[in-house]
């Protein structure tokens, strides 16, 4: 699977000019509101006709301004999940789910029962959309898009209209969608926690331009990325595997950084997880700290020191076979005389487990 997007479109007071590729897995279009994310996804869906550009999915042109080709939305074979679920009010949940199936001629990747059990909506089938909660509506909308047998799923801030409880209700379903179906997803969001949890590829948009694009893990520990993420959102995303559960209630994880200890996780050894380590939760020390309550102290090597926002600097560290980002004050960096090549110890104050794989 590969989606290639290159387009230019002028809006009043704003020009969209983007060029990126999306591979299998979840590609997150990340940016604050007004950065052009929704316009990009609408252009892919065929709801916006860009002035110039070319969009290709698996070698098939969805649009090409050079040849004048423009496939209308209903012939693109894409499933679109909107922020507001947009269920048909005159149809039952079952009829909503089956709507796209009528028109789907290609592919037979996913069955009705599979989708219903994947999204846990079996009890809702006879109900009307008017009688569903926000989270239920959105799960049905995802199911409806999936059952139209799309080549790719487009999601425009599918969680933004939901409160935190409903968000955490749906996120596991999205993870299952990513891991259990082979349908690639283009995911628009301005919420870093969601993106860090779901994305495999990250595309950062700002003022209609692509700032950075690449594998999520690599990008997240890059100080250049941090500037685009917003206050307090900088941090590394690390893949991990459950190694063992200790008798004192801690879980041992093996990661490219080395071994990490976290409070007990309800997951069997061998399970893969995704960790998020905020840059602000990493302390640096020149000598190995003694008599310290933090459990995770890693040997690291400074790769770069970059000015962050305000009085902070972002320090990129090589740890084991991966990288870690630390945010410390410029004063501390000066006091420690941090420079590329210096060996330090990174004290990880907290590790967030964002994903149960």
């Amino acid at each position: 699977m590969s989606l290639s997007v290159a387009l230019r479109h002028r809006f009043p007071g704003f020009t969209l000019d983007v060029d990126f590729q999306a591979q299998a897995g979840v590609t997150a279009l990340f940016g604050r509101s007004g950065s052009g994310k929704t316009s990009v996804i609408n252009a892919v869906a065929g709801l916006l006709r860009p002035e110039a550009g070319r969009i290709t999915l698996d070698g098939r042109d969805l649009m090409d301004s050079a040849t004048g080709r423009f496939l209308p939305p209903h012939r693109r074979g894409l499933g679109y999940v909107f922020q507001d679920s947009r269920l048909f009010p005159h149809l039952s949940v079952r009829q909503n789910l089956l709507y796209g199936r009528w028109f789907a001629s290609h592919g037979d990747r996913i069955g009705f029962e599979d989708v219903v059990s994947l999204l846990g909506i079996g009890d809702l089938l006879q109900r009307r959309p008017g009688a569903l909660s926000g989270g239920e509506k959105q799960r049905v909308a995802i199911g409806r898009a999936l059952l139209s047998r799309p080549r790719m799923l487009l999601m425009d801030e599918p969680l933004a209209a939901l409160d935190e409880a409903r968000k955490s209700e749906i996120l596991p379903y999205l993870e299952r969608l990513r891991d259990q179906t082979r349908i690639p997803i283009l995911y628009v969001s301005h919420a870093m926690p969601e993106v860090a949890r779901l994305a495999t590829t990250l595309v950062i948009l700002r003022d209609g331009k692509v700032m950075q694009a690449g594998q999520l893990e690599g990008l997240m520990s890059d100080p250049d990325t941090a500037a685009h993420l917003g206050e307090g959102q900088a941090g590394s995303v690390i893949a991990a595997r459950v190694q063992a559960h200790d008798a004192d209630g801690l879980t041992r994880l093996s990661t490219p950084l080395g071994e990490l200890l976290v409070p007990h996780l309800d997951a069997a050894p061998g399970h893969t997880l995704r960790l998020r380590i905020h840059a602000r939760d990493v302390m640096l020390s020149l000598t190995r700290p003694q008599g310290i309550s933090a459990l995770n102290v890693l040997s690291a090597n400074v790769r770069s020191v970059a000015p962050g926002t305000g009085p902070d600097v972002l320090v990129r560290l090589a740890v084991g076979q991966d990288h870690l980002l630390a945010r410390i004050t410029a004063r501390s960096a000066k006091a420690l005389a941090l420079a590329p090549g210096i060996a330090v110890h990174a004290v990880v104050k907290s590790v967030a487990v964002t994903d149960r794989g």
Partner: protein, 234 residues
Amino acid sequence: MNDTLGLTLQEWQAVALSLKVSLWATVVSLPFGIAVAYLLARRQFWGKQLLNGLVHLPLILPPVVTGYLLLAGFGRRGPIGGFLDDCCGIVLAFRWTGAALAAAIMAFPLMVRAIRLAIEAVDPRLEQVAGTLGANCLWVFLTVTLPLILPGIIAGAILAFAKAMGEFGATITFVSNIPGQTQTLPSAIYSFLQVPGGEASALRLVAIAVAIAMIALLLSEWVARAIARRIAGT
């Protein structure tokens, strides 16, 4: 004269003819009404204002003028009427079919307005999502727009039916007032009022006209509510 249920033959004929004319006028013009309402509500095209004006013209023109224009156009010597007579043997002027045409044209703006309002109330984002699910324009209309505007269509049809029942000026100008052939309920009431001793007949017909209008109105309310409940669905 022959008395049935207190009505004379002429009175019966007028009621039956009016029902027939109005029903045909409503049923035949409904698909056109939906199409025009859809064009006006959802599409941008050259001449949209012209179409809008033409549709509304019968509402603001004196009905006699509309009737005269129909006679000029659809009469046997008119350009359209002559053609229809030559090719298919269809004659409209001074026939009940002509009364149906006049009633349909007079009722058309009311029908289009009601349906257009209903279409404008449908969230276009629902039509958009149907498109992304693979439905082309026609399927989007049939599976999303049409079911959602059904209450509006019923309201428009009832309104048009009631208007057709009451149509007088254009009808009498285009098809005259021939008892048993083109004498509709309003024309009959008018005729009875012109002859001495006709008040009793006129009054009976007036009562029937009021009853038909009330039944139509209540029926439309009831159907529209039932459908709205189905759509809101709980």
